[in-house]
Symmetry: D2
Subunit: 341 residues, 4 copies
């Protein structure tokens, strides 16, 4: 951490700062220029509160040199994390060379629907099934999901197909209902719901953490750190588009985040091209691009009948379209970044 002092700092305040920093076990190196004095802090600065220092009148600027996350940091865990989901013949692994496709409808609507879609996506090559029971909707007047009943239907579909379940939690109070869920999803809008993250950190179940619409890559890693600082190391990161000025797509899919995250962290990274683009015809090219860039998996919306969907957006694929995407992705995968020879 580097502290740049204002010109002519008040001596008493400076002494207070120095003794406070030393009390945290940090060494301080000084670099005095004509106008500026720069202090370099040596030691474990991850728990030093930058804002606290920035608040001081004598400080012009504080900059981190090392990353503020530890458990998620590849520097301290050079090996890729492999997240194992489910067990027995339905066990799947994500990360460390294991690539998985998660597929299913936006919302669980009926037993018939979820079982039909689950069978179809399994047949096409999906390793996990998704389906929303609790739905975060911008409008209170939109369909809010089947909630508990939706989770029951997902369990039925799992019994039928063996596919592990990925579904979203919206509030801590729902946690008891998630026993049969294999991967708990934290949606983009909850990426900084810190109380929820802390609780999920006490579980052993894998957590799929989606990047917030306006969250930086570092903030995504800090949210993963919340979970991991609890105990739970099974975190899967998911890029799903960020909010920008462009309106032609619902969000802007930030595929550079894949190789950036690969450098910064050992956690698996998957991509959701359905929600990112919001447009059916863009799911395939973006799934292919994400795969080429080295993603560890994909999350894709598939429905059986759009005309009757309760919340499926325009980004959903029909099963036969999904099967086509899987084939295209599988053709790319051997040549993907980090995989190709």
């Amino acid at each position: 951490m580097i502290i740049i002092l204002r010109e002519n700092p008040e001596q008493k305040q400076l002494e207070n700062l120095v003794s406070w920093l030393k009390s945290m076990g940090l060494d301080i190196h000084y670099s005095k220029g004509v106008n500026k004095t720069i202090m370099g802090l040596i030691g474990d600065t991850a728990s030093v509160d930058m804002d606290l220092i920035q608040a001081l009148d004598i400080v012009e600027k504080v900059m981190r040199v090392t990353e503020p996350y530890k458990n998620a940091n590849r520097k301290f865990h050079p090996q890729d994390t492999v997240v194992t989901v489910g067990s027995g013949e339905n066990e799947v692994k994500i990360g460390g060379g294991n690539f998985q496709i998660i597929a299913g409808p936006c919302s669980v609507e009926s037993e018939e629907q979820i079982i039909e879609v689950a069978k179809a996506v399994k047949e096409a090559g999906a390793g996990l099934m998704r389906g929303g029971a609790f739905k975060p909707r911008t409008s209170p007047y939109s369909f809010q999901g089947l909630r508990g009943e939706g989770l029951d239907l997902l369990s039925l579909a799992k019994k039928e197909t063996g596919l592990p379940i990925v579904t979203e939690i919206m509030d801590l109070s729902q946690l008891d209902l998630f026993e049969d869920v294999d991967v708990i999803q934290v949606g983009a809008r909850n990426m900084q719901n810190f109380e929820l993250l802390k609780e999920l950190g006490h579980l052993d179940k894998p957590i799929l953490l989606k990047r917030g619409l306006s969250s930086t890559i570092e903030e995504l890693l800090m949210s993963a750190e919340y979970i991991m600082s609890g105990r739970n190391q099974n975190v899967i990161l998911c890029e799903r588009g960020i909010r920008t000025f462009e309106t032609m797509t619902r969000n802007t899919l930030d595929l550079s985040a894949i190789p950036v995250l690969k450098e910064k962290t050992h956690l698996p990274i998957i991509v959701d091209p359905s929600h990112a683009t919001g447009i059916n015809s863009l799911v395939k090219p973006m799934a292919m691009a994400a795969t080429a860039a080295g993603a560890d998996g994909l999350m894709i919306e598939v429905h059986n009948d759009p005309a009757h969907a309760l919340c499926d957006g325009p980004q959903s694929l029909r099963p036969e379209q999904f099967a086509d995407v899987v084939k295209a992705v599988e053709a790319i995968r051997p040549f993907a970044f980090g995989v190709q020879q």
Copy 2:
């Protein structure tokens, strides 16, 4: 609502759509061009799910003509909402010509601190006091607030000064502790925590709803609508900066949101220049600008001793600086937009 159909729509699907729309009591007007057919829906479209329609193969685009919010909509409630907080001699009103300043430290740290700051801001002219007990922090290693103990200290300060309390809730499970709190704040990161919003909709207590960092003005109103569709009509909106590419300030304070919101809704709108800018020296000019633009109030961070603050960011003012801001704001207020003769 306007639906633009794709060229040569499949007739069966089109009939399905038309009969579904009619079943919701909507009238349909057609406008057929050379290439495009446009359907205008007449009637109450607030509960029509745009995504549903957009999902259809025969639909190219769906556009709303009327706003998707009702309770928050000024069209249906032309009169300004006046939110009353506290009672007796400490009663304060916000909105409809009533201007209030909410002030206090970022975090409650100690009895001494909160009482000292509360007295100082009351003396300077604040009508309500703020102070964080539950603190949303990006890093799990940063101070997370005194939590329950912090709420107790706020109650003490209220007893001492009479100032009503504004403080943030981070999770539904904390609600029981908020009995003595006068205004429950929903922070920017929780603006779309819909489960929380729904529960707060069942209370009578005023809710201060902060705009999310990447939330549009319409999304802010839809989140207010979540609360108001419950029952609770006492919602105060708060602009606190949005995330943009500019890095010189922490966020970009969107003051245009004030007059835009004034047109769209009858709810009071306040501004938080402290968090928006993140810079001490910008609080005063932005407080003045917000006042001139017609804000119904301000929320300003004030601390007693920055050198010992546990989380006060660089945006906090000392009590004497705050008093100076209050004076400047009071000088502007008579000439403000919507107030001046």
Copy 3:
């Protein structure tokens, strides 16, 4: 085009509007709701000025249904445009199934440098060479390029290697110097330099048009339309990252723009992963992802010796790194979107 009128429009103004619209040969369909009247304009609306209509007191909103560009619009030119550059054995084609890599240094610095790099990138598989002679630099104190001398050195390198030249023009006054240049590049900062675009529209030389940092996809197409409405139909579009809040990469590479543009226009689309990311290690994965998404080519910065480069940013590759990228891209290309069987 759809015009939504305000409630109770002033009759005289409405009549003026209607007769003005009719004078442009447009038909008008009306759709009267309880509160709103909607006018649908039928006919050629590309030259109707939306702002003009929006300015009227009686108008609430104007929306386009059809795209405002014609020459660049795939609807009117379903076939892919193939841009031919150079001639004889050095002729290269871009678009319509032809994939090209443009490579070279950020700035031309010396005869030795440009010839060495040109030979290296040709050897590795580049079809065109790039090199900056006129350099747009944020600071007036930074190196501004060798200018005319730089163009001469590019000509030497072309003589030596046969590679066609791609280089940037910064102002109309430089045009005379570009005779030996094969593709004139319009940089991101000049994407809306309309006077420049108009002049380039009178040439026959291919134009490489880079998307502006904060330009929408539609604005990019409108700038292409400026060139094409002159006469010059040889426009190559280039996605090179947009400005967002994320700071881990220099810009955010918007790869969704590739399939979106493929739908909207017949023009070739290439991607510049070097400038978009600004980070050496991200060039390869993003080049691979762009290829998988269906790009018609890539533009990649290559230098011979970074330690002595005058402006090469951290995103430049050494020749052997570039050769590795070319191999990875060539492996992906047969399976790319729009190419794979």
Copy 4:
């Protein structure tokens, strides 16, 4: 400037870097941590090319501590710049306590129109008149301005009213026509047209430099520096909204830029609420807010007859509305930031 080295830097490269830095007259202070070595550069670093250093393999990060602009920097010119426009009884001053309103139509359309508007805005209190002769339009099919003829009409209006002229240049080739223009405006799209800026730096005429839609405050100052490094010190900065995700207003007016710029530079700062918001009803509150925040002036669009305007956007005010804005602004001004006692 601070350079953070990668771990175990290659010694030969490090020596090269050190001797290169020393050759530029810089002193280097070292701060060696457990993992990182940090170099602090002491001396005049404004002309040191950060990108160059960042490009080196041994460098992890480079950070500026001092600003990269000199002529525009308040540190070296603590006194406010006062720009004088026109002469004799029509002389007006901007900056250093002098507040001016620039008003007029978006486009010059006819002699009658420009003279009528010029008289009206003068009567209402404007100190300068604006009017576009060369118009940057997104579409090649939109009205492009009367060009040379428009400049002639502005001269007529100046003769009639005495109001100095502010109008936009779009290309260097137009410069000869600007002799009678008092303030040359560089539009948002040309803020980084560096060739144009350099040429304007050789004039004595005041330049009104608008902030680009996606330009940071620092980039705005660097563009001012381009002009000032030529020779011309008469630069007026103009905030006119930046591009964000919010769609309710055309752009997001960044009023925090006013006090930020006041700290960083001695140049006058004005605000254009018309273009920023794009909405007639927001011009007044935003003009008032900009004034309260300490702006040195305003630029406001005024037309005489919207129904016949050729390019006036929906943000234009009628003369009587403008007069009302001027009154509201004049009431605020004595209490504005930096002005109030």
